[in-house]
């Protein structure tokens, strides 16, 4: 187990170097000039050059990258031009919002998806089954930004039930979380349904039923237990998806998370901030996959971590 963890962690090192290198190369080719963006329009060409030197942007590519790595190892991800604060600080102030939205979104997915899947499985081939499966596909197929705009329009603007975007209280969290969750709930529903069907048709469940075990008990005892592992896997896949893909929802709801900050950084050529956030999300992706592996091993003794 410990050897496994060490190996996985060791593998993250080349991944992170690779990711930061690729990002660095990409940014290097961005058409804009960060020094000029920083300097502003009244700055003379001299002033821009001075700022370029200050920022180390006149150095050759490999020197810039080397310096970046050297400082990154010490936990210094640089200073954001746009936000005028250290990148680490910027990430730490924004990340809690994204995490909040991610957890709430996954909660909504589970809250809708799992019961819907169980219901569909237990009423297999009825209109209930069909409807919930089509509904889940509609959720999956709706662009999150569109869904979010509709939510805002009806629930916040027309009905006035929720704030119109922004953050600060639990009411602010509901619409973005539901928007994020509705799309994903479809996948949970479909997966729960198929793993439930698998169990329901298995011999031991038929036996249990014939022995007179009530439907609810069967569901709890066998079906849920069997479905929990794929659900955990799915949650594990969800976390990175949320962190990378929640950009659109954060944009629609003006949610001050890391995704929106990253898009802004890309569009304003804020090099240190782009590098820092991309590397940070990559770390999250790798770490969450390790955690999921461990959780799975704990839940299912058949899985061994090698």
């Amino acid at each position: 187990m410990i050897a496994y963890l060490l190996r996985r962690l060791l593998f993250t090192v080349p991944v992170l170097i690779g990711i930061s290198l690729i990002t660095f190369v990409l940014i290097y080719f961005l058409p804009a000039d960060p020094a000029r963006m920083y300097a502003g329009p009244n700055a003379s060409v001299d002033a821009v050059n001075r700022i370029r030197t200050q920022l180390g942007l006149d150095q050759p590519f490999y020197v810039q990258y080397g310096r970046y790595l050297e400082r990154a190892v010490q936990g210094d991800l640089g200073y954001s031009y746009q936000l005028q604060m250290p990148v680490t600080q910027a990430i730490l102030t924004r990340f809690p919002y994204t995490l909040q939205l991610t957890l709430a979104g996954i909660f909504v997915e589970l809250l809708i998806g799992v019961p819907a899947g169980l219901l569909a499985a237990s009423r297999r081939s009825t209109w209930l089954d069909g409807t919930s499966m089509v509904a889940s596909l509609i959720g999956v197929s709706s662009p999150p930004f569109w869904l979010g705009l509709l939510m805002l329009y009806f629930f916040a603007f027309r009905l006035g039930l929720f704030p119109l975007g922004g953050a600060g209280s639990w009411q602010h969290l509901i619409l973005p979380a539901v928007t994020a969750g509705l799309g994903g709930a479809g996948w949970y529903a479909r997966m729960t349904r198929s793993s439930a069907l698998e169990v329901l048709s298995a011999d031991y469940v038929r036996t249990a039923r014939s022995k007179g075990l009530a439907g609810g008990q069967v569901l709890r005892r066998h079906v849920l237990r069997n479905a929990i592992n794929p659900i955990v896997t799915m949650v594990g896949m969800d976390i990175p998806w949320f962190i990378g893909g929640v950009v659109l929802i954060e944009t629609v709801f003006a949610w001050p998370g890391i995704g929106r900050m990253m898009v802004d950084a890309i569009l304003t050529d804020d090099v240190p901030l782009i590098l820092g956030t991309v590397t940070f999300t990559a770390v999250l992706v790798v770490v969450s996959s390790i955690i999921i592996d461990i959780v799975q091993a704990m839940l299912d003794p058949r899985i061994r971590l090698r």
Partner: protein
């Protein structure tokens, strides 16, 4: 089949793909089974509906000049109110605009019809790139195996650790938005998934007799990959082709919604929503109709893909 190093999903649809992969990877489908599959497929009403809608969509895209009531780029003087607002279709004087006009006084219906061209072009061509790249890389890595195959897949894993949407945004920013760049970028961010699935499939196929036989007969590597492995991956590719298009349509819409998509005046559904959203009170149709178009398109490709997966994989749980 979901591997333990699973990385960020490009989109929810990729999760379906993982299912698709697991289904077909288990057993290679002999070509004769396609007839069987078609019989299955015909009975699947939802999949048929999806397929029919896809066909309709293709027709609309091809026949756009015939179907659209107006030139999608024409900005009508009467298409704007005196205050510069879009015109609603409910007004008698604007009956010539069946779904109203947009923020530039253009006919919304015509733009949605032409928008199908963009969505389908991007969806299909980006898929061609993603599938080609993914199949080549995955098949190669799977066939080579050993440290070489392993390092190729490690690289793939690394690419998957990038947040997809952000990688796409950064790439578009560097290359500058145009329809061709969008196609290339979408292909370039989604190949990893196919590579991963194809890799798994090839790894299991490799152990089977017909490949071992070919190897023992001294066939060159490329020939084995091309002649023996690729055809067996066909069902997988077909399923991806359908599910992948829906993913690509979604990503194209998202990029356009963020304002870095297809360039004006070419109508793109995602871009139409972005440009129209500030009129949510005066002209909510600017957001509702293009969004419906995106949703129905993605839905029908998903239904089609699901149906294909079920049909092509007899071991899969059936509805």
């Amino acid at each position: 089949m979901r591997s333990h190093t699973d990385a960020p999903l490009p989109d929810a649809d990729a999760r379906a793909l993982a299912d698709a992969g697991s289904g077909t990877a288990r057993g290679a489908v002999p070509e004769t089974q396609f007839t069987l599959a078609w019989r299955h497929f015909k009975r699947d009403r939802l999949a048929l509906a999806g397929g029919i809608f896809v066909l309709l969509l293709v027709l609309v895209a091809v026949l756009a000049p015939v179907l659209a009531p107006h030139d999608p780029a024409e900005q009508f003087a009467e298409g704007l109110t005196l205050d510069g607002l879009p015109v609603s279709s409910t007004l008698p004087e604007s009956a010539q605009f069946p779904l109203g006009t947009d923020q530039n006084g253009r006919d919304l219906l015509s733009r949605i019809i032409y928008g199908a061209r963009v969505s389908l072009t991007v969806g299909v061509l980006a898929n061609v790139i993603a599938v080609t790249l993914g199949v080549l890389v995955g098949a190669l890595a799977g066939y080579l195996g050993g440290w070489r195959g392993n390092s190729i897949m490690r690289f793939t894993d690394m690419m998957m650790a990038f947040p997809t949407l952000l990688l796409a945004i950064a790439l578009v920013a560097v290359l500058r938005p145009s329809i061709w760049v969008i196609i290339f970028v979408i292909g370039a961010v989604y190949w990893t998934w196919i590579a991963r699935i194809v890799y798994g499939a090839v790894r299991s196929l490799r152990e089977r007799e017909f490949v071992t036989a070919a190897v023992s007969m001294g066939a060159p590597t490329w020939r084995i990959v091309l002649r023996h492995l690729l055809p067996h991956l066909l069902p997988l590719v077909i399923v991806w082709a359908s599910l992948g298009i829906s993913t690509n349509v979604m990503l194209e819409a998202s990029l356009s919604y963020l304002g870095i998509g297809v360039q004006p005046p070419t109508p793109s559904w995602g871009g139409m929503i972005q440009q129209g959203q500030s009129f949510y009170r005066a002209a909510p149709w600017l957001v509702i109709y293009p969004g419906l178009a995106i949703m129905l398109t993605i839905l029908s490709f998903n239904l089609l893909g699901d149906g294909l997966r079920d049909a092509l994989d007899p071991q899969q749980q059936r509805r």
